[in-house]
């Protein structure tokens, strides 16, 4: 297993988030080394998505901290974390419905725009407006390059997305929307990728394709944190597996080792591995 000796890329200590009387995430510790793929599993309502929200800055923890590449990033805004190279997909599939596939993926590259976003303090936004209207050669070149890159990224999905590149995202199938989300995340050139149930709602063929893609990304050296219900996929892809239940980490280790853990079995039996959406989880 490829556990790096240097400081981990992502390190989470004692992360806690409460909603009213409920502790959705309860003192979670987590380390992720460069190039590692760690899966988080657990019954619905275990707090997995809330944990993702805390790591990506969409929600603020009540206690604990998150560090990325050795820097404390607890409570930073999602914009800042995106600029740091953290990209994610969403459980419910949040594409920009009225944007074309091309534009959706281009948004993924937003943090990498340079020519049109001069790093001048205060008047930076106004310059951005001016450059967007004037569009000097440098801006055009950058835009063209990104568009080419988008096509390369989309080609990873075979003929699924490329023929639909100018269609609005709302017109796509459910599975294709998930693919657009992943393409968008890749356009950010992430250093850490968080995938929230990338195969939800997919049929076996589509799931297999997705599994192959994730494996490919891992092979390219991308660090990935994965939430997934399909255990077979988890077992095949993961370097390590973390099991959560009622906000707590109840087990951590290699796939097979976790799978036979009596606590894990009990958690799954006790709550049932149902598909019914849990309020807390889906609201988060």
């Amino acid at each position: 297993m490829a556990i790096a000796h240097a400081a981990p890329l992502l390190s989470v200590r004692g992360l806690t988030r409460r909603f009213g009387g409920l502790t959705a995430v309860d003192a979670i510790d987590l380390d992720l080394a460069k190039g590692e793929l760690v899966s988080i599993i657990g019954p619905n309502g275990a707090g997995k998505t809330t944990l993702f929200n805390l790591v990506t800055g969409l929600d603020r923890p009540d206690a604990g901290n998150v560090s990325f590449e050795g820097q404390d990033v607890t409570g930073l805004s999602p914009e800042t974390l995106a600029a740091e190279g953290i990209a994610r997909t969403f459980q419910l599939g949040r594409v920009f419905g009225n944007l074309s596939v091309m534009d959706n993926v281009l948004i993924g590259a937003h943090t990498r725009l340079r020519a049109v976003k001069p790093a001048v303090p205060l008047i930076g936004p106004l310059l951005e407006l001016g450059l967007a209207l004037l569009r000097p050669a440098s801006v055009k070149v950058e835009e063209e390059q990104l568009r080419k890159e988008v096509k390369v990224i989309l080609s990873r999905f075979g003929e699924r997305l490329l023929p639909r590149i100018d269609q609005p995202a709302y017109s796509l199938s459910y599975a294709n929307r998930r693919r657009v989300e992943i393409a968008r995340a890749l356009a950010l050139k992430p250093r850490l990728l968080l995938l929230d149930e990338p195969t939800a709602g997919m049929n076996p063929t589509e799931t297999a394709e997705m599994q192959a893609l994730v494996a490919e990304l891992k092979a390219e050296g991308l660090t990935i944190l994965l939430i997934e219900h399909k255990l077979e996929m988890v077992m095949r892809l993961s370097d390590r597996v973390i099991v959560m239940d009622e906000g707590k980490k109840i087990a951590e280790g290699a796939g097979e080792q976790v799978r036979t853990d009596p606590k894990v079995i009990e958690a799954y039996l006790g709550h049932g591995l149902s598909d019914a959406a849990d309020q807390q989880e889906s609201a988060a």
């Binding site: 929600d59 914009e79 920009f96 419905g97 948004i107 209207l133 968008r184």
Partner: protein
């Protein structure tokens, strides 16, 4: 000081009056997540039905109340069944617009039936007065308080402890889940609209008796104050609405006490903005809640914009450009000048409401800022008119964006409410800041339009000037939409959570949208000021804001060509309907309703 007791009592008395409307609004918001802009119209209908009952049928008070409640409930049921239920699966903005359309229709029907003259609605309670502090209260005060509190209490009990109430709450929490659990959502909605309307009607009756006066203008004011009170108390929170109303009454009363009458509404709207910024879920919402469900793809209608071939656009552009050379009357040109001015405002609004999804109901404030800046620059500092107008645009961009920035952290309908309040605040500041704006007297003798020293006074030259300015602004906006900014704006509109996760700063891009849009609106206001030669705080009013929003919806949100087409249509249609005289606003309301019902994405589609 004993006066403070009087101010407190007066604040509570008027708060009572607000509460009657606010409770109905809160109930509807609680279930439908809808701010019912027609609530004030139901209140109006109730007042006039009450007038018929009291003055013509001589019914005793209990019977009057029952008659009004039943009749108003019927109106509510009709609104729900034919106005709102068809929009159930429509975009979120559709029902909001539908209630605005319904309110136009109801107000006009009342006006046409009863004439716009105010009428006396005598109280049917004994004329006894009780001394409290320096003033007196009468039985009607107690009845109003009783109705407000009792209805809030009854609703609270109903929601908590009855089966239908449980269904109502379940529907409010999660409509789909409630439907799966076997709740008949339509029945729930019917019940809620019926109750809220009955309450609205009775409040119109009681308030009409309280002032011994009813008129058709009471509708909008009731809605405005009711909405403020409801949002302050926490939208959808019935007891909160009562407390919010009393608080609003007190704040206004103390505001009058401390600063004078002309500041009264300023305090009402400032209270609203402060509450929205500090506690967007109202004063009585629990502290921290789960992040709200995103509005992915549901706020804006999924739409494929109509593609208009470039040659067709060029031909139409060409025809309008040479129009003054053709034998058309100056009246047509003047009407089109109005359309171009409205077009600039609509371009601005379609950018902020359509492209970046901040549905502003206070957009006329940007016109006012541009107009006053340009007028005062040219009058006081003798700045040439051309530069003064550009100054107006810049001031509107800068000041407008700064004023609206508190609403950047809000979403959905709250943005509309906040911008409505900010628009009112701008108008009230113009009214009160006499040193600069000349207050109610207004600014007169504004020099006419001129360019490079040549005065543009013939309708033909004004036509060309405003047409060229609008076309340039439209082209700039089209270019903006084609850039990465257009993409970013639209992404924020479609899903602000996902947009943030990809590094888009909401504040930065909303500001940029308002800066660009504010400039266009400011230019429009500036030109209007020099065209009219006289402006005051009423020149650019809420009706302008609503008209602009209708234009934007009609044309298609975010659609540049749509904004211009919509402006020509909505300036032109009322002129064509002049034959219908008194009926034209009614027709306008019906057209708006039909549009929302059958083509929510607008004529040319959302971009």
């Amino acid at each position: 000081m004993s006066s403070w007791l009087d101010y407190t009592i007066n604040g509570l008395i008027v708060g009572n009056v607000y509460a009657l409307v606010a409770v109905g609004l809160a109930l509807i918001f609680g279930v439908s997540r809808l701010i019912n802009f027609a609530q004030g119209s139901i209140y109006l209908v109730g007042a006039y039905i009450g007038w018929v009952a009291v003055v013509q049928l001589h019914t005793p008070l209990p019977l009057t109340i029952i008659v009004v409640a039943v009749a108003a409930a019927l109106v509510g049921l009709i609104i729900e069944r034919f106005g709102l239920r068809p929009l159930q699966n429509s975009v979120r903005i559709a029902p909001l617009l539908a209630t605005i359309g319904i309110s136009f229709v109801l107000d006009q029907l009342v006006m046409l039936t009863f004439s716009p003259n105010p009428r006396a609605l005598p109280s049917q309670l004994p004329d006894v007065r009780f001394q409290i502090g320096g003033g007196t209260i009468e039985p009607l005060d107690l009845l109003i308080a009783g109705v407000g509190l009792t209805s809030a209490l009854l609703l609270f009990v109903f929601l908590r402890y009855t089966k239908l109430g449980w269904a109502v709450r379940a529907t409010a929490q999660d409509r789909d889940a409630a439907m799966q659990m076997g709740v008949d959502v339509n029945r729930v909605n019917q019940a809620v609209f019926g109750i809220a309307a009955a309450l609205g009607g009775v409040s119109g009756l009681l308030v009409g008796m309280y002032y011994n006066q009813i008129d058709t203008a009471m509708s909008l004011q009731a809605t405005l104050k009711g909405v403020v009170a409801e949002v302050v108390g926490g939208a959808g929170n019935v007891p909160g609405a009562v407390i919010g109303s009393l608080l609003l009454g007190l704040v206004e009363s103390y505001g009058v006490a401390a600063f004078g009458t002309s500041y009264r509404n300023l305090f009402a709207f400032l209270l609203l903005v402060v509450v929205l910024v500090l506690r967007p879920n109202g004063l009585f919402a629990s502290a921290r809640q789960a992040p709200p469900e995103p509005l992915t793809g549901t706020f804006i209608a999924p739409s494929r914009p109509v593609r208009i071939p470039r040659w067709a656009l060029l031909v139409v552009l060409g025809v309008f450009a040479i129009l003054p050379l053709l034998p058309v009357s100056l009246y047509v040109l003047q009407t089109l000048i109005n359309a171009w001015l409205l077009g600039m405002l609509a371009l601005s609004l379609t950018l902020v409401a359509g492209t970046i999804g901040q549905v502003s109901l206070g957009h006329a404030a940007l016109l006012a800022i541009g107009a006053y800046t340009s007028a005062l620059l040219s009058l006081t500092f003798s700045v040439p008119v051309g530069f003064a107008i550009i100054g107006g645009g810049l001031m509107s961009a800068a000041l407008g964006t700064a004023l609206i920035s508190p609403s950047f952290r809000l979403r959905g309908h709250y943005v509309s409410i906040a911008t409505l309040a900010i628009g009112e605040i701008v108008s009230l500041v113009i009214l009160n800041w006499e040193g600069v704006t000349r207050g109610p007297i207004g600014v007169s003798g504004i020099p006419p339009l001129s360019l490079f020293g040549y005065e543009l006074i013939s309708p033909t030259s004004i036509y060309w000037f405003s047409f060229v300015v609008m076309v340039v602004l439209a082209l700039l906006q089209a270019r903006l939409l084609g850039s990465h900014l257009g993409r970013s704006f639209r992404a924020i509109r479609d899903d602000d959570v996902a947009a943030r996760a990809y590094g888009l700063s909401l504040n930065r891009y909303k500001s940029l949208a308002f800066i660009f849009g504010g400039f266009a609106a400011g230019i429009s206001g500036g030109i209007a000021a020099h065209l009219y030669s006289y402006i005051n705080h009423e020149t650019f009013n809420t009706q302008q804001s609503i008209l602009a929003l209708t234009v934007v919806i009609l044309g298609g949100l975010g659609n540049v060509v749509g904004a211009v087409v919509g402006s020509v249509a909505l300036v032109g249609l009322p002129e064509v309907f002049r034959i219908a005289a008194e009926y034209r606003i009614l027709i306008y309301g019906i057209v708006l309703l039909l549009l929302v019902r059958f083509r929510p994405q607008g004529l040319l589609g959302t971009i």
